[in-house]
Amino acid sequence: MTNDEIRSFIENAIKENKVMLFMKGVPNQPACGFSARTAGALNALGVQYAALDILPDPRIREELSGLSGWPTIPQLFVDGELVGGSDIVMEMFESGELAELLGAEPPDEPFEPEPQPEPVQRGIGLENRLD
């Protein structure tokens, strides 16, 4: 895969998925505490989202950060716009803004992120979460 192909794959993923999360690992097996918390917030709201693991190829992160101008992972996009990284997503989760943005009901109880597992290697692919 060329860098251009990776970039256009990322652009399409952002365009085609209303809620698109770029993370380390996958929602069921996050490979970093920040990614775990961000995926956990989306899971707690029960919204559908697509997630892409950036770990399999370092160029995914390079191209993503080049596109978004955001240096860290995770990155959450909603309706094609960068919402933020884990700090912003968690602030918005706690304030109820994230639920409002995603048209979800705020959860009754706070969630506990899953313990951080060992990183896993996977191929490039999208995991669609359909609850």
Binding site: F34, R61, S65, G69, W70, P71, T72, L82, V83, G84, G85, S86, D87, I88, E91, M92
Partner: protein, 79 residues
């Protein structure tokens, strides 16, 4: 390896007048948390506020500084 004091000084000099607290979360010099109160954040979105802080460190973010957790606020909004 950067220290929380170095991060604190860099942010403070880039955002004059800001109240900056930096904590080394693991003691390992790679996971930091910064809390910054600055009137420079007035009128900016959270994304723009965090970008101002990330810009201080350029390529060090994701490099020497593996993770930098950021909390920004303005003097007026501080609780």
């Amino acid at each position: 390896m950067p220290s929380s004091r170095e991060l604190q000084e860099k942010i403070a000099s880039a955002l004059p007048g800001a109240d900056v607290t930096v904590e080394d979360l693991t003691g390992g010099g790679d996971h930091f948390r910064a809390e910054i109160v600055s009137d420079r954040f007035e009128g900016l979105s959270r994304i723009q506020q965090h970008r101002l802080v990330y810009d201080v460190f350029g390529d060090d973010i994701g490099g020497a500084i593996h993770a930098l957790s950021i909390k920004t606020s303005t003097p007026g909004s501080r609780i």
